[in-house]
């Protein structure tokens, strides 16, 4: 793989190259790591906006609307939309594009559907690297749509500078929202489908709940916006709210704080992935993996003891960077 020429194609905004690069990352293809490394060293300046909320709330429709609104402000917009992989077949239906047709035709928009491939938390393993590749290709902002599972989407905070939490009238028990911890993760709350009855009440309930939260002075107070994504009503205001939040983050040191937390989380992930891959690989080569598993199965030993024994035996002297998948 000729990494410099790929990096150059990305920098030119070549969509075919970008799309291919994302596939390589998803498939842990050899060479992908160096490409991501190059992209990483150049990236870090695009605004990443997460969209999360229950199934059918309008995340894809809103992503499309936001893409058009940002396009109108002269930005090139990337969209990454994640849908669940079937645990039974390993296949997936990626249908978010259906609701993004109006943005999909724009030269300044790039949309990619991704499957979770067994990754828990509402995103996929390749999401961080895909964001980086989009950054390298000059997309800013990057909109990330989580799976609409209704739980566990907290992971979007790991990648997003601004998290949009979408709700809609008729979701039933409004209080459900607090239970799910969703008030904690939203930087901007969107009550979508405001054309339907009950939207005003939902906005007021959310505002009330948010006001109850004690916030130190100078802290961002998440606004609640009524939106009809399907008809582009309120999308301009939302776009402004997103930019306001980003501005607030940058002015208050919040941007740096989030990026620092992200860096730590990513370091932890990378350590886990690489160390695990390397130790498991070496243990298997030596035949020790199967023997350790057998001892556990026979109740001669326990998993923690065996795992640590593998780390002690196979951890030292690992040749870096050992890519477990390459």
């Amino acid at each position: 793989m000729d990494v410099p020429s790929w990096v150059e194609r990305l920098a030119r905004g070549d969509k075919a190259a970008l799309a291919r690069a994302i596939t390589l990352v998803e498939n842990r293809a050899p060479g992908a790591r160096e490409l991501v490394r190059q992209a990483f060293l150049r990236g870090g300046s695009s605004l990443v906006v997460g969209l999360t909320g229950p199934p059918g709330v309008g995340k894809s429709t809103l992503a499309s609307g936001l893409a058009r609104a940002f396009l109108g402000r002269g930005r090139r917009v990337g969209v990454l939309a994640v849908d669940p992989t079937s645990p039974f077949s390993g296949g997936a239906i990626l249908g978010d594009r259906i609701r993004m047709q109006e943005a999909a035709g724009e030269p300044g928009v790039f949309i990619r559907s991704l499957a979770t491939r067994g990754h828990a938390g509402g995103l996929c393993r390749a999401i961080g690297d895909s964001i980086r590749l989009l950054e390298a290709a000059g997309f800013d902002p990057i909109l990330v749509e989580t799976v609409g599972a209704g739980q566990g989407e907290v992971e979007v905070m790991r990648y997003a500078d601004t998290v949009l939490v979408l709700l809609m009238p008729g979701l039933g028990d409004d209080i459900q929202a607090i239970k799910a911890g969703i008030l904690e993760i939203g930087d901007v709350f969107v009550v979508n489908k405001a054309d339907l009855p009950g939207a005003d009440r939902m906005v007021r309930t959310l505002e009330l709940l948010l006001e109850l939260k004690p916030l130190p002075p100078g802290t961002w107070r998440p606004p609640v916006l009524a939106v009809v994504a399907r008809d582009m009503v309120g999308v301009e205001e939302l776009t402004q709210a997103i930019l306001d939040h980003a501005g607030h983050l940058k002015g208050s040191g919040g941007w740096e704080a989030r990026r620092a937390a992200q860096a730590e989380a990513e370091l932890g992930d990378a350590l886990q992935e690489q160390l695990l891959g390397a130790v498991v690989g070496r243990a298997k080569e030596a035949g020790e993996w199967g023997r350790a598993a057998a001892r556990i199965r026979e109740r001669q030993s326990d998993p923690y003891t065996e795992a640590w024994a593998l780390v002690e035996r196979f951890g030292p002297g690992l040749s870096a960077p050992h890519a477990p998948e390459d």
């Binding site: 070549d14 799309a19 842990r28 079937s86 296949g91 990626l94 047709q101 999909a104 790039f110 559907s113």
Partner: protein
Amino acid sequence: MEGKIRVLVAKPGLDGHDRGAKVVARALRDAGFEVVYTGLHQTPDQIAEAVIQEDVDVVGLSILSGAHNTLVPRVIELVKKKGGRQDLLYLVGGIVPREDVDYLRAAGVSEVFGPGTPTEDIVAYIRQHAKG
């Protein structure tokens, strides 16, 4: 490298329902493929963009309107123009008269599946021919 076969299922043109396309999409998912489904009334340009951005291995075009001879070659041509992959597998589903099948093959289509083709046949064909 842990590849997954990615398939775009698209409906170009104006014909009104996508039941067949959805059945095929689900069968492909159940076979372990990742299926990008884009819905009804797609223009060739929209489909070609989706082919590029989604980096699919297989393009399945479902056409019942009879306009396959114009729509399908147009999609293939646009994908080429936009710098798409050379190793793409193009499949067409729908009612295609025999004389048109040859025309579509010449334009780059690998296989045409008539109405009522068992989905297992389509799955098997993709397994055998897609790059993956």
